[in-house]
Symmetry: C2
């Protein structure tokens, strides 16, 4: 279960989830870990773009990664889904809103 300690943390997760591609990535990874190139093929998107999406998911701590060796002997970067489960309601938004820092993003 995911708990949010600040508005910024909540927002980070919501932003990570508010994209079709990233939702699809989560859907695929929910079936098991996968490495980047294979994942890009399955989703039909370019690898650089996939990196970008994975980075956002990783920043929100929704996925993790590690390097593994394929049967072929080549190194591959595997991504796996962290447990994703949380509730949203107006009380929590009200409670966390004050800790939203009005950032301008880099």
């Amino acid at each position: 279960m995911i708990y949010f300690n600040s508005g910024d943390e909540l927002l980070l997760v919501l932003e990570a989830l508010s994209n079709q591609q990233r939702l699809k990535i989560i859907a695929v990874l929910s079936e098991g870990k996968q490495y980047v190139s294979q994942l890009a093929r399955e989703l039909g998107i370019s690898r650089p773009l996939l990196y970008l999406h994975l980075q956002k998911l990783e920043e929100a701590k929704l996925v993790s990664s590690d390097m593994e060796i394929l049967e072929s002997g080549k190194a591959a970067k595997y991504y796996m889904l962290n447990p994703v489960q949380f509730e949203i309601n107006e009380q929590m938004i009200h409670a966390l809103a004050p800790s939203l820092t009005m950032k301008k993003k880099n």
Copy 2:
């Protein structure tokens, strides 16, 4: 409680929630209905921008509006929060991902 009938519906809500200003709007409206001009003053943002945010929240069915007459006699557009409560987990994302239509937005 909010239920999602498709990936697109889920995404619409997530997109509506993935913005600081809109989270703050929800926080303010959770304390009670408010009219646009007053809300803009409270949030310290321009009215045209607020309209844009409110429109997104309304499309996601998170808020509703109606015209009312102020004590002063002037017409005001009041916005109020609809019940916001739902759960997110990987099973539902997996189930709804196939019904994500890869849109290019207008």
